[in-house]
């Protein structure tokens, strides 16, 4: 997934597209579940989506104690699939609701060792939201 991270660093959120049958998958995968082909390319997606469900984690697991509480959401992506991410600073917790539109924005949290995938959920019109 190094290439995935490189795309994110460049501001692009990418899904995988099967070269053989066109199956689009997020999270991206190297092997096609539909036709079993191992030939794929990355395909940039918009990062637009809606909140499917969410929770505020008060009791955090090891490595996240100093970060809690934090709110994570599961997002139905406009093109295909879902992702899970933190809500970013543009959406206060009091405004979070199932069904609200969000924009997935690439972010680098390299100073936090546990974080290897880098994006947050923001208002569609928030500064930086157009980067994806």
């Amino acid at each position: 997934m190094t290439d995935f991270a490189c795309h994110l660093r460049a501001g692009r959120l990418v899904a995988s597209r099967c070269v053989a049958c066109g199956h689009l998958a997020y999270p991206p995968r190297a092997d096609c579940p539909a036709c079993l082909s191992e030939d794929f390319t990355y395909h940039e997606i918009s990062g637009r989506g809606t909140v499917h469900t969410y929770t505020r984690i008060d009791a955090a697991p090891a490595g996240f104690e100093t970060l809690s509480p934090y709110v994570i959401g599961v997002v139905d992506l406009a093109e295909t699939g879902r992702l899970l991410a933190w809500f970013g600073p543009s959406i206060p917790e009091s405004e979070i609701a199932v069904g609200m539109p969000v924009q997935v924005v690439p972010r680098l949290f390299e100073e936090i060792e546990e974080i290897r995938v880098y994006y947050s959920l923001e208002r569609p019109e928030a500064p930086g939201a157009g980067a994806v």
Partner: protein, 384 residues
């Protein structure tokens, strides 16, 4: 194919068992089950042990348990599918007997959750999610069930009070169970005032880790009738899986593995959900029990909240559920849980449930979930 019956049950005390090693916990349950069946150890042809290995310092725990039970050189092996490991052991015993390979098999679920120190446990628990796409954001076990709870509330209007009422019921029955970790009633107000864990779930929405063991002795029909005056038959076994990742579940208001396992178990047993007189369901979190009411067909989809609010899961209601206190009050030593559930159903079908006996219980069901529904086992038990 041989019909498979339970001829002995043994249930140890669940709790913080600093007094005993894991093999000693296993022995406690094994001794009780042999006494219940009036069998000598030599009658046991094979042992299936359920435990989740990463919680124990001892590797390959089936060997150390089998040695401590003094059952060498009889065969023994381990089953593991997270919190459903005990039901995997039961399914394995059923297969061993139905195939004709063995006639009398002991199943032992055992687990010491407190053998490792807290940082080690936290690190293990933190890896419950998809470690590539989910755990990186600090997901937790209660956090996943909270995601289900929030969506269930959104689609069906389920309330925090309805979640808490599951805990109130299970503590009510746990107070009557001498083997339970928590033996005290709680109020709705107390549950709703407990500390937040992962919204909308609070401390009282979550079960507690525990140490403990439980044992069942299974036998082929001919032997079962010779051994026991009142064998209870395992007539339907169902098992299904669902994706590891919550991102690949089309519906986050139920567990598709539970729906499918239930369908299989009833098809094999020739029974229906309405005929279930008593059920043990996997209430690791209160929302899990509400989803189980729906997944198992005790009520319609979306009506799980009303089912508990209307006291339909109490003795006297449509389907009494977790009348031993459930994981919530009894405690959840994960390898032992599925075996413990089966012990309670056999106890109920024998009519030996004492103050928590369900009247006229002739058909019982267990529902044991591994993880967040990655694995689910549903079994149907019947008395003659």
């Amino acid at each position: 194919m041989a019909r498979v019956g339970v001829v002995g049950i043994g249930h140890g005390v669940f709790g913080r068992r600093s007094d005993a090693s894991v093999q000693e916990l296993a022995f406690e349950a094994f001794r009780l089950a042999l006494a219940d069946a009036a069998l000598e150890p030599a009658a046991i042809e094979a042992t299936v042990i359920a435990a989740v290995p990463e919680y124990h310092k001892q590797r390959s725990i089936a060997g150390v348990v089998q040695e401590y039970l003094n059952l060498n050189p009889k065969p023994a092996w381990l089953t593991e599918v997270a919190c459903a490991s005990g039901s995997a052991a039961i399914r394995t015993a059923w297969m061993a007997i139905a195939s004709g390979l063995h006639e009398v098999v002991a199943v032992i679920g055992c687990q010491k959750m407190t053998e490792l120190d807290t940082p080690e446990i936290l690190a293990l628990m933190g890896r419950v999610g998809d470690v590539q796409w989910e755990s990186t954001f600090g997901t937790t076990f209660p956090g996943y069930y909270a995601l289900f709870a929030r969506r269930h509330m959104h689609e069906f209007g389920t309330t925090a009070e309805q979640l808490a009422l599951v805990a109130v019921k299970n503590h009510h029955y746990g107070a009557l169970n001498e083997k339970a970790l928590f033996r005290k009633e709680i109020t709705l107000e107390k549950a709703l005032a407990s500390d937040p864990v992962a919204s909308p779930m609070r401390v009282y929405d979550c079960c507690a880790n525990a140490d403990g063991a439980a044992c069942l002795v299974f036998a082929a029909e001919r032997r079962a009738r010779a051994i026991s005056r009142h064998p209870v038959w395992l007539d339907g076994v169902g098992c299904a899986t669902a994706s590891m990742s919550v991102l690949r579940r089309p519906d986050l208001t139920g567990l598709p593995s539970a729906v499918e396992a239930s369908r299989q178990a009833h098809a094999m047993a020739g029974s229906t959900p309405r005929q279930v007189k008593v059920a043990e369901v996997h209430d690791c979190f209160t929302i899990a029990e509400i989803m189980a009411y729906e997944d198992l067909g005790f009520c319609a989809k979306g009506e799980g909240g009303a089912f508990i609010a209307d006291r339909q899961a109490y003795i006297g209601g449509a389907t009494p559920v977790n009348v031993d206190g459930g994981l919530k009050a009894k405690g959840h030593p994960i390898g032992a849980t599925g075996v413990s559930m089966a012990c309670e159903i056999v106890n109920q079908l024998r009519g030996e449930g004492s103050k928590r006996q369900v009247p006229d219980a002739d058909l019982g069901l267990t529902h044991n979930v591994g993880g967040i529904g990655q694995y689910c086992f549903v079994n149907v038990y019947r008395r003659d």
